[in-house]
Subunit: 237 residues, 2 copies
Amino acid sequence: MTKNKYFEIYQSIKTAITNGVYAPESKLPSEHTLCQLYDVSRNTIRRALEVLAQEGFVTSVHGKGVFVMAKPPLHLLVGGLQSFSEVSAQTGIHVETTIPVFETMVVDSQLAQKTGFHIGSHVFHVVRIRTIDHVKAILDENFFDCTLVPTLTRSICEQSIYDFIEHTLQLKINGAQKAICMEQASPLDQTYLEIPSHQFVAVIKNTVYLETGQQFEYTESHHLPEKFTFHTFARRA
Amino acid sequence: MTKNKYFEIYQSIKTAITNGVYAPESKLPSEHTLCQLYDVSRNTIRRALEVLAQEGFVTSVHGKGVFVMAKPPLHLLVGGLQSFSEVSAQTGIHVETTIPVFETMVVDSQLAQKTGFHIGSHVFHVVRIRTIDHVKAILDENFFDCTLVPTLTRSICEQSIYDFIEHTLQLKINGAQKAICMEQASPLDQTYLEIPSHQFVAVIKNTVYLETGQQFEYTESHHLPEKFTFHTFARRA
DNA sequence: TTGACAAACTTGTTTGAACAAGTTATTATT
DNA sequence: AATAATAACTTGTTCAAACAAGTTTGTCAA
């Protein structure tokens, strides 16, 4: 399927770990042995192992070997960059989306401070409410650069914006800076999530970049505090 | 100083970016050019660039070049694994630590569920209050595996536990699974952070592993909601 | 049995090379 | 001048090799 050897080996070892073929706290076969198993060079094995180490599945120790973590990560989206529709599609949870706000606006100094876009630039402003099991759970407020995403429509926002951006517009997303914090419920939260003003909400602030390094999106995801969790794996420098 | 070429090149390019030598959204010299600049092989250059891409400083585009991100990360601790004393030492903020709880205990089923340690194992239980500018800001609740950290004392907890673990005990830390969520203030929070019971606090749950993959620590950091922020960079799969 | 030493492992770093594949600039053709 | 083919870039993947450096094992001598 994929023609990258290192990625197939990465997947192969990962499923072997999650299936218990390689037990937690046990040692993987040596790199030399894995070379023979997969019939590739040591560099290719090491590249697969590096990704596994990055995601918290294994840890290599100089002179000793490569060990399986005591508790390999369960959530495949390890602090990753997945859109809401992708997550809901994988988990099979049924979600309804309503769009109370869909407009274009010019960035003033206050909005530039918030979103990181330049003053005077034109952006789409979209607010989406995610309803899970008939409970309003998430409020997403998106800002897209109009010059990079010119043909956005309301109906696209009801489906998957990322699918549209990546497949229709052929834009390639590199990654996002994420800031997680807690804030008092904003007027938007009070209106659309029906939260009293003094209560806190969990906020993820995403500044999203294309492969060229340009910022093309700023998004805030406001979550009900009880429903919110964020998982990631951090390696020690 | 450090004898790793790729790491020195990584640092060199990173400071060049933060100092504006390589402007945001501009293109870095080609890998071939960088090879000549630093007099190393292309693989070594690529390794340095890979780390920079991981941290959100640059993004490579097949066939085009390596671009500097529009807004390279400011916070050097990018969702990283730094102890509290290390952060406060870098930022120069003065912090006072009080330790209301320092004890050993046996893990029961409830605590095993919470911490991930096995039932019946012995752990140190430490609660530390961090006071910043005479305001109680953070409550840290640590659980350490007694077999791995046998000689822990109260006075060590007043200083830096990680310094003790890494330098005195010579244990090497691989990384930590982090779960960030919001919870109603616990009895500990109510007692030591003086928070009313119905209010929420921001909680970071860390499961920390040694280089061998063994879990040796579980820690919860409870933060006042107004003071809490967590930064990270996520790459698109 | 104990200790010291060497050999045989392990992973970590670096080099050089070759080819694949995407993008840009040049050139030739019409 | 516009177009198409080509060449000259760029990064992406993989290989083979050598050496460094940490860990374990085995051997031999005291």
